[in-house]
C-alpha cells in the first residue's frame, strides 16, 4: 500500500510517499511553507505525486503533521509532529531512545520507550533562542549564508562565550564582537555552543538515554551536531534524513491503520 505523510512545518513543507510492501520511500519533496500554508501544502503534495507519476487515488492514506497540519485539509487524518517524529526516526534508527529535534519554530526532546513509543517529551516553542530561527536571524545579521555555518564553525580555534541567549540581545552582543574584530568562525562556533547548551538543559529535565539522534532542519548543520555532542557528553548521530523524520513518520502512521 502507498501512503503519504505531509509535514507542514514553520519553514518547510515536506512530503514523503511510502510504499509499505517494499518498505521504502518512493518519493519525497521539500519546499518552503511560506505565508500560505494551506495552498502550499496542497501544491507541494501534488508536485510530489506528479513527480512520482502518482495520482491522489493511488494513495491509501494521507496523514498530515507539523504545526500547520490542520491546513492540509485533503489529508485523511492528522498526527502531532511529536508522535510522527518518534515513529519516523525510530524506523531509521531502531536503537534510538532520545530524539533531539531543532526545527525552525521550536525545539523538542523526545524520550522513547525501549519499544519505541513516546515516553516523555519537552518542548520550547515560546522563545526563538532555542530554535533554528535563532541561527538564521544571526546569519542575516552577520551577512553569512546559514549553509556556511557548519563549515565555518569547524575552523574555529576559540569559540566565543555568549552571555545572552535572547535573540535580540545576542544580536547586539554579536555586532559588538564583530566591531571588536573577533573572527567570524569563533562567533559562529560560539552561537552553536550557546544553542546546544540551551537545548541540552531542556533535555536534562528528562533523562537522556543513548542512542541519541539529532533531527530537524538544524541537524543538517555539522557545527550544531558537534556542539550538541560536546554539550551532552555522549555520542549523537544525525538522523538519516533530518528534514523528513516527521513526514516519514506520518506516512508510516498511515500504514498502521
Amino acid at each position: 500500500m502507498l501512503s503519504a505523510g505531509i509535514d507542514v512545518g514553520s519553514v518547510n513543507t515536506k512530503v514523503v510517499i511510502y510504499d509499505s510492501e517494499r518498505d521504502e520511500m518512493v518519493a519525497t519533496r521539500v519546499a518552503p511553507t511560506g505565508m500560505k500554508p494551506r495552498e502550499q501544502a496542497e501544491k507541494v503534495f501534488q508536485e510530489c505525486c506528479a513527480g512520482a507519476g502518482l495520482g491522489a487515488g493511488d494513495l491509501g492514506m494521507i496523514v498530515a503533521t507539523g504545526y500547520a497540519r490542520q491546513s492540509a485539509g485533503f489529508a485523511h487524518r492528522t498526527v502531532t509532529e511529536i508522535t510522527a517524529t518518534a515513529t519516523g526516526i525510530r524506523r531509521w534508527h531502531p536503537g534510538c531512545r532520545t530524539i533531539i529535534d531543532i526545527g525552525g519554530q521550536d525545539s523538542k526532546v523526545i524520550l522513547l520507550t525501549p519499544a519505541g513509543a513516546v515516553q516523555e517529551f519537552v518542548m520550547n516553542d515560546r522563545c526563538a533562542a532555542g530554535t533554528g530561527s535563532f541561527l538564521e536571524f544571526i546569519a542575516r545579521a552577520l551577512g553569512v549564508p546559514i549553509e556556511k555555518f557548519g563549515e565555518l564553525s569547524q575552523c574555529s580555534q576559540q569559540p566565543v562565550l555568549l552571555s545572552s541567549l535572547c535573540v535580540v540581545m545576542a544580536e547586539s552582543e554579536i555586532l559588538s564582537l564583530v566591531a571588536a574584530d573577533v573572527r567570524q568562525e569563533d562567533i559562529i562556533a560560539g552561537l552553536h555552543q550557546a544553542l546546544a547548551t540551551r537545548v541540552v538543559n531542556m533535555a536534562r529535565r528528562l533523562t537522556v538515554i543513548p542512542d541519541v539522534v539529532f533531527t530537524g532542519g538544524t541537524a543538517l548543520n555539522e557545527g550544531m551536531l558537534v556542539a550538541l555532542k560536546r554539550a551532552l557528553g555522549v555520542e549523537v548521530s544525525r538522523a538519516q534524513f533530518p528534514l523528513l523524520g516527521a513526514a516519514f513518520g506520518a506516512a508510516l502512521a498511515g500504514t498502521a491503520v
Binding site: Y67, A68, V79, T80, E81, I82, T83, D106, A117, V118, Q119, E120, F121, V122, M123, D125, R126, R205
Partner: protein, 386 residues
Amino acid sequence: MSVAILTPEGFKELRVLKEKGRRLVGYFCVYVPVEIIYASGALPVRLARADEDSARCGEGWLRADACPFCKASVGRFTSDPLYQMLDGLVMVNTCDMMRRLAEVLAERIAIPLFQLYLPRTAEQRANRIVEWTEQLRCLYRWAQGLTGVKVDDGGATEQLPLLNAIADYNRVRGLLQQLDRLRAMVPARLKASEIFDLVAQCTRYPPEMVGAWLKQEYARRTGGLRSAEGAEATAPEPAGLVSDSRPRLMLAGSILVEEDRLLLELIEEQADVVADAVCTGMRWFTEMVADGEPLTEIARFYFNRTPCAFRRPNTVLYDYLRRLIQERQVKGVVYKTLFYCDPWRFEIKRMRQELGLPVLEIDGDYCQENRAQLRTRVEAFLEMLR
C-alpha cells in the same frame, strides 16, 4: 449560573449586595481565612481574574519578568469593576511574588489592606499555631472595624458568628466534594472546567446563595436520584473499567484563573481531567474545618491545608497527589505553570520523580497567541498516553 467568567448579571448580584450594605473584602490566596471575613459580616471575594492587558498594565509596578498573575492583579485594580468595588483587601505572604504584590498594592490602592504572615514552614509547633491564631484574631477585629459590627470581648457572642461561618463554608465544601466525585466517574458526569466554575462561584458569592445552586447542580447531574445533602453521602465511585479512548488526567500547578478555562476546554475535547491540585480547584474544598474552639480550628485548618508548592515541608502535597492518582486511576499529569512561578516551576523535577507518571509541562502567561502550539503539546501528550 454555570458561567464563571463574571457576567454583567453576576456582577449585578454583587452590586445589589453592596447596595444593601454588605462590605466586600478581596483576597488572592487560599491561605486567607474566608470564615473570619464572613463572620464579621463582610463578604470575602476571591480575586482570580487575569488577562494579557491587565498583566501588561501591571508591569509598570512589578517587573516585566514577574509572575503574570501578580502583574495582572495590579492591573485589574485600574480596569476591573469588581476590584474597584472592594471595601478592603486581605493579603498573605505566601510566595515571594505575593509579598511584592502586597507592597505594591499598599502604595497603590486607597482601600484598607490587612497583611497576614503565614509561618514559613508547615511543621506543627505550638508556638507557630498560637502566633498564627493571634493574627487571625487581629484580622477578625480589623474586619469587624470595616463592617462596623460591634466588637464583643470574647465569649460566646463573639464565637457564634465564627461557628456559623465555619458551618456555612463547610457545607459548601461538602457539596463541592460530592459534585467533584462526579467527574471521576466513567463516563464523567461533570467536567473539570465546570468544577473550576463552581469554585469560582463559591469564592465570590455568599455561601447561603451558592448552597442552593450547588444542590440544583448535583440533582441535575444525578437525575435527581440523590439529594446532595442526604444522610448517606455516598457519591458514585469511579467504575473499575476505564476506557482508553479518553485518558484520565490530573492537573497540577500554579493558580488557574477564569480566563484559563480555554486550556481546560482544549484538554477536555479528548481527555478527562479527573482530579487536580490547583488552589482554584480541588485544593479549595478538599478539607473541612474541624469542630472545636472556632478561631483555633480555623487557624489549624489554614496552617495544615494541602499546601501550595512554596511551603516546606510539602510531603502532604505529595500524599494528596498520590492518593488521588490511585483512587481516580490517573494516567498522566498536566502540569500548568505561570512564567516565573518559582514555587511550582522548581517542583517539576521532584514531581516527575515522585509520581512516576508522564507529565506534560505547560508554562505560560495570559497571552492567547500560542494556541496552536498548546494544542500540539496536548494532542501529542494524549497520543502518547493512548
